[in-house]
């Protein structure tokens, strides 16, 4: 299935919104691209599963530097010294908010989904795969550095 704009736009809109309100930064979108699975991640990667009318995966990839800055802003300016448990929880919650917000928007199109808890993978060399699916890449340029969002979605069986 080709990813329809209707399904992707909610994620884009949510990412802009959450980056602005919680990440305290503006973002611009780079060139969208189709990437075949598995994709090579970044230093910090957060994967969230989508279940319900759609099934698939959303993966947020960012450098450690960007993650630390984003975590600090999410934590209301708390000095974040390293990517510790607290910082990771902030990055998880960022990904969670974007996905939760996007899923809510899909609900208003009568597509009802739930999300699974974020899984955080740290370290270079992380690859993420989605069974039988290609990923759509949304590159975002933010004041904190680049955030790449990979989305693989399909309509659920039955």
């Amino acid at each position: 299935m080709n990813l329809k704009a209707d399904l992707i736009n909610p994620f884009l809109k949510a990412a802009f919104d959450i980056l602005r309100r919680m990440g305290k930064t503006d973002a611009t979108r780079g060139q969208l691209g189709l990437v075949s699975s598995p994709v090579k991640g970044d230093e910090v990667n957060v994967a969230i599963g989508i279940t319900g009318d759609l099934s698939g995966q959303v993966v947020f990839c960012l450098s450690e530097e960007t993650a630390v800055k984003l975590a600090s802003n999410m934590l209301k300016g708390l000095p974040v010294l390293s990517l510790d448990e607290l910082a990771k929880s902030a990055i998880s919650e960022f990904s969670n908010m974007v996905s939760g917000n996007a899923v809510a928007e899909l609900g208003s199109q009568n597509i009802f989904c739930n999300i699974t808890p974020p899984a955080v993978f740290v370290g270079r060399g992380v690859t993420v795969s989605a069974k039988d699916l290609d990923f759509l890449l949304i590159p975002l340029h933010t004041g904190l550095g680049n955030v790449r969002i990979f989305i693989a979605l399909k309509e659920s069986d039955s």
Binding site: L75, K76, L78, P79, L81, S89, A104, N114
Partner: protein, 374 residues
Amino acid sequence: MKKIKVTQLVPGMRLAEDIFLPNTNVILIGANKELTVDVIRRIEAMGISEVSITEETEEDSKEEKEKQLIPLLMKNHERAVSAVEEIIKPSSDYPLEEQVIRGLADDLLAQVEVDSSLLLNLTHLKRYDNYLFSHSVNVAILSILTGEVLGYTREELNRLGVAALLHDIGMMSIKPEIWQKQGSLLPEELEEIKKHPLYGEEILKAGNFPEEILAVVREHHERCDGSSYPYGKQGKEISFKARILGVTDVYDACISFRPHREQMTPQQALEQLLAEKEKYDPVVLNAFVSVMAIYPTGSLVQLNTGEVAKVIKVRKNNPFRPELRIYYDREGRRLEKPLRLNLAEDKYHTLYIDKTLPAEEHRRIMAELADDFV
């Protein structure tokens, strides 16, 4: 069982009856299923206007258990406050006995082990007239919790607790008219107040307290940027335990009721600390935030779906996903019975805390909820 409008459904409620696909006997959503955001949306989209929900939830028994613990913890807290009063009042026999205070700190440690987040609720809600003594107990509780995150041993936590319980003892050497004064202090009165860390050190020296505890009492008002008193010490010149107290002392003072200024909400107090982060040790601040979370216990928050809830329990290192008690549905109607919901549970990940309520609204709602304790 009771019938309610679909717009009054709140995640965490349970259906009392099956919902069928319109004009069929195909069950779409089974009875007793705990409602998640997507299921509620689905019910709404089907054009159903009313559903029946059960009034008992699984969380109720947990809630009952906690309710039984509260009076006990409250009593212990009150007892600790009067014990501190007994011990540090000038009328009592100086020099102090270290052993007595150590026992008191041990009691607090034991309570932290029973249920630290219920205890946190108490530090937020129990506002005594005898500020100085309840403040000492609260700072001890907050410091012990922060020390735990920093990996302190029980013995170290005990010493930290002792220092916290005694940190303001020097106030006893100052005329009560000054430290109990309503309204702002004269310059000379302020100068006198600024001596309380040194007065405290003197009292404890007479009691042969170890230097480690003397240092905390002497330095608990010093700030990492060198901006404070009595010596204007900076960063590492300040003993580490005193840097812990620097944070917990300010936080509790902010959320306490004080005659000369408006009481802050837990959220405001946290923001105040973070706004002046150069004054505090970043390691301590991090530990403190992982205890208090970014929406501290007692905060009123609004979910992305619109419901208004109170943060009742936070878990270490999961600052964004506390346990909540929902009081108002998404259209602002007060629920007949508050509904408990744990944001950390997998099925509730589409929900998130969108914002805290502004201080004014916080105060209004807290007054409305006054009958509901924790």
